[in-house]
């Protein structure tokens, strides 16, 4: 029985979905037990199919392709039996913030991982910056080329992915629900402090970490405070919370 279940799971996982009647052909008597065993092994049962759960398929699809158009999604999910159940799976993933809707390169609505969109706060910052950059570019077309800092800084430097990855690895290594920013920063030797602070703020904007204001009773040493980024108002951000 165990071997049979193993073989059925392998088949479903390999094909994404198999019609129940075909999958269990010749095992009519053991059908209830087999279906229960397959469910225990993490497979989903639709009206006509046994399948890899639609949510799992969707997550895999988005992570391998980067973005997946919402239109026509049903055809891409093996064993999807109705538009309603596909919509439900999408809504669950969006509600749980696993996926989010974005405007793709072709201008259509696509599903992407939540970390891959520009968050609302950055969007709010970008809108006036884009307008300002546009004004300056227009002016420069009439007179002379724009200064690097006046335009590129308005639109933000491209994120330093390596540095962000290093920071995330360090945060993970330190473990714990609350991590000291000074401990994270002091371990990164390859980048200037300013870049590290920028990368930390980027990670916060992308929803990977939450930076938290210092709440000690004067117990942060000067050295520790120097390593921490600050808000524009000067509030020291001394702890962070990994979000996912």
């Amino acid at each position: 029985m165990e071997e049979l279940v193993e073989a059925l799971v392998e088949r479903v996982r390999g094909e994404g979905a198999v019609r129940t009647a075909i999958l269990l052909e010749g095992h009519d008597e053991a059908r209830p037990e087999l279906l229960e065993a397959l469910a225990r092994r993490g497979l989903e049962r639709g009206e006509k199919h046994v399948r890899v759960p639609l949510g799992e398929q969707l997550a895999l699809l988005v992570s391998s392709l980067g973005e997946v158009p919402e239109k026509g999604l049903r055809k891409r999910l093996a064993g999807a039996e109705s538009a309603d159940e596909v919509n439900h799976v999408v809504e669950v993933a969006v509600t749980e913030a696993k996926l989010t809707r974005a405007i793709g390169n072709a201008g259509a609505v696509v599903l992407v991982q939540a970390a891959d969109v520009v968050d609302e706060a950055t969007t709010a910052k970008l809108a006036p910056a884009v307008e300002e950059a546009h004004r300056r570019l227009k002016a420069s077309a009439r007179r002379s080329l724009p200064l690097r800092r006046t335009v590129l800084e308005l639109l933000g430097q491209p994120a330093n992915r390596d540095l962000e990855a290093q920071l995330l690895a360090r945060i993970q290594a330190l473990r714990g629900p609350l991590v000291s920013v000074a401990q994270v920063v002091e371990a990164i030797e390859s980048a200037p402090l300013e870049s590290i602070h920028t990368a930390l703020l980027e990670l916060a904007s992308a929803g990977r970490i939450e930076l938290r204001p210092e709440s000690g009773v004067g117990s942060l040493s000067e050295d520790e405070a120097r390593l921490c980024p600050r808000t524009p108002d000067g509030v020291c951000l001394s702890y962070l919370r990994p979000l996912r």
């Binding site: 938290r212 204001p213 709440s215 000690g216 808000t231 919370r241």
Partner: protein, 641 residues
């Protein structure tokens, strides 16, 4: 109401501006724990257990707000208790029992007349009669109140047997008194509730409730256990320790460990209680958690929740909800400008308190925002004095005076502002005696006890200890020693031969309580400048010394053995009756202590508005009868109250 003035959440407020999604995880965790306990006693009494939840977050992120939110959402389904550590004092079970019983006397809703205690007791009676106890507990009580005495006794007997059968750890003697309280006459009920709370009663009160002494030490924890069990039938005790950062005392971990021991004990033995601890995340991480043993950590940090920063949507929802409370709100982002909103929406960190400050400043405009930190602290101090006045008056009404622990902590806070070396000399729990060393050693005793034998015992200790060093005794003037307490009066005379006896005036007690709470708020980062940044605790200490002049108060000088102009308490100067006919003085005569701001507000409300200068001038005409505690705060001595 201007919601932007409510920068510090009032945990007991019924008028709450809330965005439900903010910190929902923490509130759901606590709510789930309460609902899991509720009714568990009926279904599975053997598996009833306590819950422990730790909520960490930076200042102004909404920890105290959670308490108010849970009160609103759970209503009568939980009995809410809020404890904040006293500076210099050590946490102990008697204090928890006292605070819990005091909280049970609070109303469930401000507008109703049901007390939390009525829900707890009514639900238990209901459960013992075969119901779950959760439905209409007040009606059960009402029904019992209408029965004749014999029938009521029978119901009480049945309830005691019901508890005895299911919970062998219950303290039945204590429970019996508790169950009788709803049917007692008011003065007896007040005395009984004080006894149940483990407080000291005077001889008359003891006689009234039929006991000869206060609840003994060995009965305190059993009483708490009993309370945890019986409350679980209808309104489980939700015990919230707030501002736990105030436990940190430099390198000294005594208070942290005492708290940890207490919470571990409650978690292990008080079934049905939901214990929630709240603290600043950085302080807990750096100072509290490392001091705990593994066993303590497994209990105190059993379930960990964090308050989190509001998302952009939540920031918008907060601004909209606050603005809606104003009389003529304008469309979002008002009161913020679009530029302000762009900055705020994009800020990496924005606590609700920072956001509220930004809105308030935008609403007031630059010119009206206090830019001088000193002026800002002055305003906060005036507010603190008003709160202290209300608290002292409430304590006088309920207990005859401020509870011993509270007054002792306040004295400790004053002493800690000085350069003197201060060391507690009393027992592990009752920190109300200190050795204070400046040029010489002095012994200070806070004598706030209410029973003559306790007062006499404390005085004997003082006399014994005073053989080596000068002794100073402090007692509230509103708790005079009756002439009938012969032994106490003789002992007092003996103390006076070599020592000093200070009767604390009402205004002094208010100042002390305000000073204590001001320092505690500073340590919790709840005192903030107009830009939203917390005022450093050291700056607050310096400000209290330099600007409030706490060290030049006659009381401070007497405690430190310095010469003072006030050899004895000043005689009350009666205010000239003629002057009291003016509106402002007449109002002050009613209030006793008030800020100019409050006087102006009250005068406006009764249709006789006056400018700040007019109010000040008419009060100055009262001469020595008024004392200016600060440029904004005035106290009328001998006011007919």
């Amino acid at each position: 109401m201007n919601p932007f003035d409510l920068e510090h959440a009032d945990p007991w407020t019924g008028d709450l501006v809330d965005v439900d999604s903010l910190n929902q995880e923490a509130s759901d965790t606590i709510k789930d724990a309460v609902l899991a306990v509720r009714g568990h006693s009926v279904e599975q009494p053997d598996s009833l257990r306590a819950h422990s939840i730790l909520v960490l977050g930076p200042a102004g992120a909404g920890k105290t707000h959670l308490f108010a939110r849970l009160r609103r959402s759970l209503g009568p389904r939980a009995a809410f208790v809020l404890l904040r550590p006293e500076l210099g004092a050590v946490a102990h079970p008697r204090q928890v029992l006292a605070m819990t019983m005091e909280a049970l006397r609070r109303k469930v809703f401000a507008e109703g007349d049901q007390r939390q205690l009525d829900i707890v007791v009514g639900a238990l009676f209901g459960a013992a009669r075969g119901g779950t106890g959760q439905r209409f507990p007040h009606m059960v009580l009402e029904e019992l109140g209408n029965l004749d005495e014999a029938a009521r006794e029978e119901a009480l007997e049945e309830t005691l047997i019901f508890i005895e059968n299911h919970f062998e750890e219950a303290e039945l003697g204590w429970l019996e008194t508790l169950l009788r309280t709803p049917f007692m006459r008011r003065p007896t009920q007040r005395a009984a509730l004080s006894w149940l709370a483990g407080l000291e009663l005077n001889a008359r009160e003891l006689k009234r409730v039929g006991y000869t002494e206060r609840l003994s030490e060995e009965r305190i924890l059993p009483a708490l256990r009993t309370l945890g069990i019986i409350a679980s039938f209808g309104a489980p005790i939700l015990l919230v320790f707030d501002q736990l950062e105030n436990l940190v005392d430099g390198e000294d971990t005594t208070r942290v460990l005492a708290h940890a021991h207490l919470v571990a004990e409650l978690f292990d033995t008080v079934r049905g209680m939901v214990v929630v601890q709240m603290a600043l995340d950085g302080v807990w991480q750096r100072h509290v958690s490392p001091a705990l043993t593994e066993a303590q950590r497994s209990r105190l940090e059993r379930k960990l929740c964090f308050t989190r920063m509001p998302t952009t949507d939540e920031r918008q929802a907060l601004v909209t909800a606050w603005a809606a409370k104003l009389s003529e709100p304008e469309p979002f982002p008002w009161p913020l400008s679009p530029e302000d909103w762009t900055r705020i929406a994009g800020a990496a960190v924005m606590t609700p308190r920072m956001l509220m400050k930004a809105c308030r400043d935008a609403l007031l405009g630059e010119s009206e925002v206090a830019s001088d930190p000193g002026q800002h602290l002055q305003e906060l101090w005036a507010d603190g004095l008003e709160r202290a006045q209300a608290a002292v008056e409430r304590a006088a009404k309920e207990y005859g005076g401020v509870p011993l622990d509270r007054l002792a902590s306040a004295i400790w806070a004053l002493l800690a502002l000085t350069d003197a070396e201060v060391e507690a000399t009393s027992g592990r729990h009752d920190r109300h005696q200190w050795e204070v060393t400046t040029d010489e050693k002095r012994l200070i005793f806070v004598l706030q006890q209410t029973h003559h034998t306790s007062v006499a015992a404390a005085l004997r200790r003082a006399i014994e200890r005073g053989k080596k060093h000068p002794v100073i005794i402090l007692r509230e003037r509103s708790m005079p020693i009756p002439s009938g307490w012969k032994a106490v009066n003789e002992l007092r005379q003996e103390v006076l031969r070599t020592g000093v006896w200070i009767d604390l005036e009402l205004s002094r007690v208010q100042e002390l309580i305000a000073l204590h709470d001001f320092l505690a708020a500073a340590r919790s980062q709840d005192l903030t400048l107009d830009d939203g940044t917390p005022v450093p605790a050291e700056m607050v200490r310096a400000w209290l010394r330099d600007e409030v002049g706490a060290l030049t108060w006659p009381l401070s000088k007497r405690l430190l053995g310095q010469p003072t102009d006030e050899a004895s308490p000043p005689a009350h100067t009666e205010p000239p009756l003629e002057a009291l006919k003016d509106e402002a003085p007449a109002l002050l005569a009613e209030l006793g202590l008030a800020s100019l701001e409050r006087l102006m507000r009250e005068l406006r409300a009764v249709g006789t508005p006056q400018s700040r200068q007019q109010v000040r001038r008419s009060l100055e005409a009262l001469g020595d009868a008024v004392t200016w505690l600060s440029p904004e705060l005035v106290y009328l001595r001998g006011a007919p109250r």
